[in-house]
């Protein structure tokens, strides 16, 4: 037999694989260019335009970086970002250590509450704490009756409190995972060389989990500085970059939003600096986790045991406060915005009667975005994981961008890009779906990629070897194996999609309002009952998704970070 004959069908196969995956790749690149790079370039570009004349200028940036109003907001942003990060670490690291290394009673409760806190709507923390510790809050009044005046919850302290309690789960979940994967021998070697347990924690254990701690911390920092709802609600006159970017944008509405854009770029710069700093730190310290010889949990006794449990349960209670308050408030009877003092479902009745379209929108938009995310994630992660080309890894890196771009900024980019024919999407449902899609796509890609990495390529190669075309092999063999992971990814995307506020707030119109938007305006209007009922609906939806993830995912809470 000649050599050319058997290779002919093979070559055709390779050609087919080339054309199919290249088409997919081209489509992915197109999506990323139009939905990510174009809007952000637009934002960058507009920042250099004079709002009056449209001429090139550096004035916007000079103004943002020199005028007290902006500089103050910048300082505030860094302050609450650092504060939120520090608070998250101070809660998350000890909690992780206790849960990972000791037999803490109720470990599952702790991680479940941590995950629920993570997926709860972004600003319910802010207004729940106002309901408790605000000027007219329940706890404030109780103490006032006793003659004690509590310090004000409004402003820096309140924001940092809310951020710490909202973002500690990132630090906790990441650190706990890392602590459980440390080879036991390291700590034993330290003890054997004369190191006391406390010293060994700081000399050995903490440095070894530092990559995980810093990942959680940076996430807390980036999300803190990007958060819009919390400072807007609990900040009073406390300005951060995301609140002034939003205000500036709404003030500049109709004109060129040059200042809002300049502020946005500053926010992106901070986030990126944080991420690069972390990458720089991590580059030097990568320690492989261990799969054998893992640490054994120790039993807790006496005073130390009581102290550990007290700490863990205090964290659980504080983290659960917003959820409990929201639910409790939602079942208080109201008459308009006023609570009557009895229990009742009038808030839910109002949602049912006045806002059915808002609830419908939320579910519709989130479902649509998630469907797109899931589909795109499956293909993109295949490209990134299986076809380790330079182009694919560039695509992977570009998909990091949405992590560091605050929602407000992304929304401004969308508003600038899709505002005139042929793609005038302003005011449509489509623009809301698209922005949620692109903002949450990286999370989907990341979770799908990690599953795909666990599936050996040889499985798919076997299918191709047995005569299945590559595309079919992927769909018939790889996808079914990935399915549980894909569902987990979809559930997580759904949670973030249905809770999205910071980007949609800039893009919605009356008919495309969603639950988070309505909650935000209800809180500002003092309609706490209505806000609570909507928040409870969001919370329950997120909770159901969490339940599904727990059932399908091997690592349970590990899936959320």
């Amino acid at each position: 037999m000649s050599e050319a004959t058997p290779s002919a069908p093979l070559r055709r196969n390779r050609l087919a694989s080339l054309s199919f995956w290249d088409a997919v790749f081209a489509l992915c690149v197109l999506i990323v260019c139009v939905l990510l790079i174009l809007p952000l370039t637009k934002v960058l570009y507009v920042g250099f335009l004079d709002p009056e004349t449209g001429a090139f200028t550096l004035n916007n940036y000079i103004e943002v970086l020199t005028r007290r109003y902006y500089v103050g907001a910048l300082q505030n942003t860094l302050l609450v970002g650092a504060g939120g990060m520090l608070g998250a670490c101070l809660i998350g690291v000890p909690l992780a250590y206790f849960v990972a290394r000791y037999h803490v009673t109720g470990r599952n409760l702790i991680s479940t509450v941590a995950v629920l806190a993570l997926v709860s709507p972004p600003f319910i923390g802010a207004y729940s704490w106002i309901l408790l510790l605000g000027n007219n809050g329940a706890i404030t009044r109780a103490f006032r009756d006793l003659g004690v005046h509590l310090p004000s919850i409004y402003g820096t302290a309140g924001i940092i409190l809310v951020f710490s309690l909202k973002f500690f789960p990132f630090v906790y979940l990441m650190t706990e995972g890392a602590l459980r994967a440390i080879n036991r021998s390291y700590e034993e070697a330290a003890a054997n060389l004369g190191c006391s347990p406390v010293k060994s924690f700081f000399a050995i254990t903490l440095p070894l989990v530092f990559p995980a701690v810093s990942s959680g911390a940076i996430l807390a920092f980036v999300l803190s500085i990007a958060d819009f709802g919390t400072p807007a609600i609990i900040g009073r006159n406390f300005r951060t970059l995301s609140t002034i970017a939003y205000n500036q944008y709404t003030a500049e509405m109709g004109g060129t939003p040059s200042t809002a854009v300049a502020i946005s770029m500053v926010m992106i710069a901070i986030s990126m600096a944080a991420v690069f700093l972390q990458r720089f730190i991590l580059a030097k310290r990568r320690y492989a986790g261990s799969f054998t010889n893992l640490p054994i949990k120790k039993p807790l006794h006496g005073l130390f045991g009581a102290g550990v449990h007290a700490f863990c349960y205090l964290v659980v209670v504080l983290a659960a406060v917003p959820m409990v308050v929201v639910f409790y408030t939602s079942i208080l009877a109201t008459n308009g915005p006023v609570f009557t003092g009895e229990f009742g479902f009038s808030s839910y009745a109002r949602v049912w009667n006045e806002l059915p379209n808002v609830v419908g929108n939320s579910f519709l938009f989130a479902t649509a975005a998630v469907a797109m995310i899931t589909l795109a994630s499956a293909f993109i992660s295949y490209l990134v994981v299986r076809r380790e080309t330079l182009a694919a890894s560039v695509l992977d890196s570009v998909l990091m961008v949405p992590y560091v771009v605050p929602g407000v900024v992304m929304a401004i980019g969308f508003a600038l890009t899709f505002n005139r024919a042929p793609v005038d999407l302003i005011g449509t449902a489509f623009i809301i779906i698209l922005i949620v899609f692109i903002r949450r796509l990286p999370y989907g890609v990341r979770s799908t990629s990690s599953i795909l990495r666990q599936i050996k390529p040889s499985i798919e190669e076997a299918a191709v070897n047995l005569g299945s075309p590559p595309a079919k092999a992927f769909l018939k063999v790889t996808v079914p194996i990935m399915l549980p992971g894909i569902i987990v990814g979809a559930m997580m995307s759904f949670i973030t999609a249905i809770n999205e506020l910071s980007s949609t707030l800039l893009l919605y119109t009356g008919s495309t309002a969603t639950m988070p938007i309505k909650i935000y305006s209800a809180v500002l209007d003092g309609e706490f009952g209505l806000a609570a009922a909507l928040s409870t609906i969001l919370l329950v939806s997120s909770g159901i998704c969490v339940f599904i993830v727990f059932r399908l995912s091997e690592s349970r809470e590990g899936a959320f970070v």
């Binding site: 080879n183 021998s185 390291y186 034993e188 070697a189 330290a190 003890a191 054997n192 060389l193 004369g194 190191c195 006391s196 347990p197 010293k199 060994s200 000399a203 050995i204 440095p207 070894l208 530092f210 310290r285 990568r286 320690y287 261990s290 054998t292 010889n293």
Partner: protein, 355 residues
């Protein structure tokens, strides 16, 4: 230099007894090896000495001082770990210096001592490297240097070579033995590799089921295995059913010429494969078993011949001479078992050595 004395040490995990009443007396400066299959309790014993878990009862003494109740970090017994446990975030120098820093050694002395020990383990040029830049063998040298530099009274080694490839293992075990002799440090070494245990030790303790089966020199362990477990675990061995009748040993139809001063009854006879000969030697007091070749394998220095006889399978290890190499499965053959090389054991689950 320190004598280690372990008395009546017991340890169990819920329903599993890991150590049943272990008593050992290890001479100062000895290289003492705990040898046994996985799950035999050897690592549990070592870790009890290191203080990583508490014994249920019994005492551990080093130089007459009881250390059984001390926390691990105050015991002053150096340990080398199976998985190296070289701190991944510290350089070679800082790894080795770690124990000295805990002991608040002055920085000048610290530098000098770390420098010296790195010189000894041939890692001086790599002092500034990070662990991930080292090979497995180099990492284990760091582990060794780190344990030796604190000048512990006792050195514990938990299968330190098991993660290395065969050639490196032999090289490093020579180095370990040389270092141990140079420092004169009492060393307790855990391994499941019998060749390693025989090669390196002054004394070997074979463990099985949480019990010390035999404590003896490597030569005695091999040539006078104390019971059937030791006989079959250390080196390979042939087992044959036999009986003592009228002071003679009988296997099958044959009886020994040589008398045995033992009571009559069934026994288990063992013989090392290298003592088995092919063919019959006239005039020697030997059992001659007729059989056929099951397989013959040439393994380099020797030829392994497995023979099926009426009294069971007999494996022989012989010189690879032309006649022997030509053997094929099914060939008729005779195996000769010299009576002088037979060891007799009680016919029981783990029978004791009789003679």
């Amino acid at each position: 230099m320190a004598r280690v004395k372990i008395e009546n040490l017991k340890k169990s995990y819920s329903d599993f007894v890991a150590l049943k009443n272990i008593s050992l007396d290890i001479a100062s400066g000895a290289f003492f090896t705990l040898l046994g299959p996985s799950g035999c309790g050897k690592t549990t014993l070592l870790r009890a000495i290191a203080g990583f878990h508490r014994q249920d009862s019994g005492s551990i003494q080093v130089d007459g001082e009881s250390i059984g109740d001390k926390p691990a970090h105050l015991r002053d017994v150096g340990m080398v770990f199976q998985d190296y446990a070289v701190f991944p975030h510290l350089s070679v120098f800082d790894n080795v210096a770690f124990g000295l820093r805990q002991r608040k050694v002055s920085s000048a002395e610290l530098k000098q001592r770390v420098g010296e020990i790195l010189e000894i383990v041939q890692l001086a040029p790599l002092a500034d490297r990070m662990p991930h830049q080292l090979s497995g063998g180099q990492q284990q040298r760091v582990g060794l240097a780190r344990a030796l530099v604190i000048r512990p009274k006792v050195l514990l080694m938990d299968e330190p070579l098991s993660n290395l490839d065969a050639k490196l293992r032999v090289e490093l075990r020579r180095d370990i033995r040389a270092l141990q002799q140079e420092f004169g440090i009492t060393t307790i070494y855990v391994t499941h590799d019998q060749e390693e245990a025989l090669a390196i030790s002054d004394e070997v303790c074979v463990m099985y089921g949480g019990v010390a089966q035999q404590v003896a020199s490597p030569w005695d362990i091999y040539s006078r295995a104390g019971n059937l477990f030791v006989a079959s675990f250390v080196g390979s061995n042939n087992r044959l059913k036999g009986a003592l009748a009228n002071g003679r040993l009988a296997i099958g139809e044959q009886a020994s010429e040589r008398p045995f001063n033992l009571p009559d009854g069934p026994v288990i006879a063992t013989i090392r494969p290298e003592k088995v000969r092919l063919g019959r030697d006239a005039g020697e007091d030997a059992f001659s078993l007729k059989g056929t070749v099951r397989h013959a394998m040439f393994i380099g220095r020797e030829l392994e011949v497995s023979i099926a006889t009426q009294d069971g399978v007999v494996d022989a290890l012989v010189k690879p001479e032309a006649r022997a190499v030509a053997l094929k499965p099914g060939d008729p053959i005779e195996a000769s078992l010299p009576v002088a090389d037979l060891m007799l054991y009680d016919d029981a689950e783990n029978g004791r050595l009789l003679a």
